[in-house]
């Protein structure tokens, strides 16, 4: 027996408490033909003619069309999103910008997604355009020149996911303070926040800054929001 082996502690079985895990049973993959049976599918989102026009105009830029619950999602190349929006607005009448936002797909190859919900008021149709964004290259052409209403939505996506919009007139953070280092809607950002990342004002008039609003959850003692009166019964070590 070698020396190092002899001196080694006999292997003990780890008897640590392990949290009981619950595994969800993932459902089947979404199938396009589900849409026929979906009771909430709407006529306003079926737009084969629009997709055809897009493919005719842009060809390979439109690289996929997904259908679920009667909704068509058109995937286009990231670089061409502004041209696609311009075409949709000017030639196909999608003049009303309803919504846009980002999605963090986390484990997938092209990590981020932006979707644009556009509405044609005259034709009574909706379309959803999506782009995929690589994690290495987070810059996306801004569509604010086409749809002015995209301004705040893009700022929100920038704030929450860190996607940068080229040509945006006012790319400030929407909700978080200007030099907050993180992008909270990314999947790796913890639900309780990063301690110390957002110092809050003192909880008492003379007190220290609150560096961690969820101190207890992060395993330390929380700051009291009031000055506790001294008690005879309180544990002395507690007040240190």
């Amino acid at each position: 027996m070698r020396d190092d082996e002899r001196n080694a502690q006999p292997k003990q079985e780890k008897r640590e408490h392990e949290a009981l895990k619950f595994y969800y049973t993932p459902m089947d993959e979404a199938r396009a033909d589900d849409s026929e049976s979906n009771p909430h599918a709407k006529g306003a989102t079926r737009i084969p003619d629009v997709i055809k026009a897009l493919v005719d105009e842009f060809g390979d830029v439109v690289w996929n069309v997904e259908t679920y619950a009667g909704e068509d999602t058109v995937f286009v190349e990231k670089e061409k999103i502004r041209e696609v929006c311009q075409f949709l607005r000017d030639d196909l009448g999608f003049n009303y910008f309803s919504d846009c936002g980002g999605i963090d797909r986390f484990t997938e190859d092209e990590r981020y997604e932006m979707f644009y919900n556009l509405v044609s008021l005259e034709r009574g149709k909706r379309i959803r355009v999506k782009i995929r964004i690589e994690e290495d290259d987070l810059s996306v052409p801004s569509v604010t020149q086409v749809y002015r209403a995209a301004n705040w939505n893009e700022r929100e996506a920038y704030d929450m996911l860190g996607i940068k919009f080229d040509g945006h007139p006012d790319l400030r953070r929407m909700y978080m303070p200007e030099d907050f280092e993180y992008h909270p809607l990314r999947k790796e950002f913890p639900l309780l926040g990063v301690p110390g990342s957002l110092p809050l004002p003192p909880q008492t008039p003379e007190g220290e800054l609150t560096m961690d609003p969820f101190a207890a959850a992060h395993g330390s003692k929380p700051t009291k929001s009031y000055l506790e009166p001294k008690s005879d019964y309180a544990d002395d070590t507690d007040n240190e």
Binding site: A69, L121, A149
Partner: protein, 448 residues
């Protein structure tokens, strides 16, 4: 150039950095902003922007920067308006939101679909039922759940009551912004009546959470039918009284007429939604655009106004309340008997009778609480409803588990506030409160 004031926040030194820097950015933005009022002035002149020395532009130093809010009695929540004034005219406006940001979208990712329901109450807290229904419909679309007919009618009644309740508050607070305090008390009396109905139906007055995925929590009681009918009758009279008081009221009209005006093109361009869009003559109402529930089966009109000013939005909202009463009355007449919840343990909670008296019921209840609704992997769906403020939509993405992978909330107040920045430019500073009131933002929703 107007200089940014010094902030006492700088005393915190290196640690407490975000507040001064945040302010700096806002002031930078205010200086750099190309405002609509400049465009208008340029259009009047030779078309070019005035390139003069600052002392020539503003020799008497009329310009000042005014911070309204974040907590101002007329901002309907924590909304901060940083405005650059030229005398009494607002030259540039920058809105700062996010003071109420709770990260609802992030929270939703860690909750099951059913667990997220009470959070929707707290978004647009002036009409919680609409938010509940919007969420339920979005999840039902995502998971392909069909709900019984009676539940749809109940949801419709309650949604319209929520609309009336929200518009009542808007009117009362709007009146108060314009200086009439007693109007606030009258409209709140009506809201109290609606709360009593919610109390009877859902067991809660304010945050109802009554609509559930796969149906509604409980059927309407005979007493609630009585209350709703009584409310419909009394509210019509009350509404007529308000109209008699306000429609030809000189103060009210002069405070509102031609104030906060947006044209049809501007409204579309800015992406305004709800009554603010329809007040400018755009016929866009989700109840007609893509009818949900039973809106395609009831008879109602969607009020449209062309003027696009605060007065138009006032008339429009009052007409909307009338139409809501009309819808409710039709719902009450046409509501069929039947179940109020989907009869499938994978789509909805079992009724409490089942849970208390049968083993299967209890297991289903447990399973549904634990795992909840499951949508297919890779499914995504967007469902919008016409909430009192406008298009309220949820875009959901599923990864096949019982929790949403990503929830994107398209909040009407957020959309409307964005437009308000431009509407304010060129108006008087005294009109700001009227404009904010007339746009009717709820910060709980805008900040999400």
């Amino acid at each position: 150039m107007a200089t940014a004031p010094q902030f006492p926040g700088l005393d915190f030194g290196d640690k407490f950095r975000f507040w001064p820097k945040h302010n700096e950015k806002i002031y930078e933005r205010l200086d750099a902003k190309h405002a609509w009022i400049e465009e208008k002035r340029a259009a009047e002149g030779d078309g070019g922007m005035a390139a003069t020395e600052w002392s020539e532009v503003d020799p008497l130093e009329h310009e000042m920067i005014l911070n309204m809010g974040p907590q101002h009695p007329a901002t309907h929540g924590v909304l901060r308006c940083v405005v650059k004034l030229d005398g009494e005219t607002i030259e540039k406006a920058v809105l700062d939101i996010g003071y109420l940001h709770r990260g609802i979208e992030k929270l939703a990712e860690s909750k099951t679909y059913q667990e997220f329901m009470p959070y929707t109450d707290r978004m647009d807290y002036l009409s919680p039922y609409s938010n509940n229904v919007a969420w339920c419909l979005a999840v039902e679309k995502l998971a392909g759940i069909e709900i019984p007919e009676r539940a749809e009618w109940i949801r419709m009644i309650m949604c319209e009551l929520a609309r009336i309740s929200s518009h009542c508050l808007w009117l009362g607070v709007g009146l108060m912004d314009a200086g009439a305090v007693s109007g606030f008390l009258w409209t709140f009396q009506q809201r109290e009546d609606i709360y009593s109905i919610f109390d009877e139906v859902a067991g809660a007055r304010f945050t109802v959470s009554h609509s559930r995925i796969g149906g509604v929590a409980s059927d309407l009681t005979p007493r609630s039918f009585e209350l709703i009918r009584a409310f419909c009758d009394s509210f019509k009279e009350e509404l007529a009284r308000w109209q008699k008081f306000l429609n030809r009221n000189r103060i009210w009209i002069e405070r509102n007429k031609d104030v906060g005006r947006i044209t049809k093109e501007e409204a579309i361009e800015l992406g305004m939604t709800g009554p603010n869009l329809r007040g400018s003559g755009v016929e866009y109402d989700i109840r007609r655009f893509e009818p949900y529930l039973k809106y395609d089966e009831v008879d109602f009109t969607i009020p449209i106004r062309e003027e696009g000013d605060c007065l138009a939005r006032y008339f429009l909202r009052l007409e909307e309340m009338e139409q809501s009463i009309r819808i409710i009355e039709q719902c009450l007449d046409r509501m069929p008997e039947g179940p109020v919840r989907a009869d499938d343990a994978k789509q909805a909670y079992p009724s409490k009778d089942e849970v208390y008296y049968s083993m299967e019921g209890m297991i289903h209840d447990f399973m549904y609480t634990d795992v909840g609704t499951q949508a297919p992997k890779g499914a995504n769906a967007y469902h919008a409803v016409e909430s009192p403020k406008g298009e309220l939509g949820f875009y959901l993405t599923s990864d096949g588990t019982g929790r949403p992978f990503r929830v994107r909330i398209n909040a009407p107040s957020f959309t409307n506030l964005q437009g308000m920045e431009y509407i304010m430019e060129g108006s008087l500073v005294a009109d700001t409160v009227v404009i904010i009131g007339s746009i009717d933002p709820v910060m709980g929703e805008a900040d999400k």
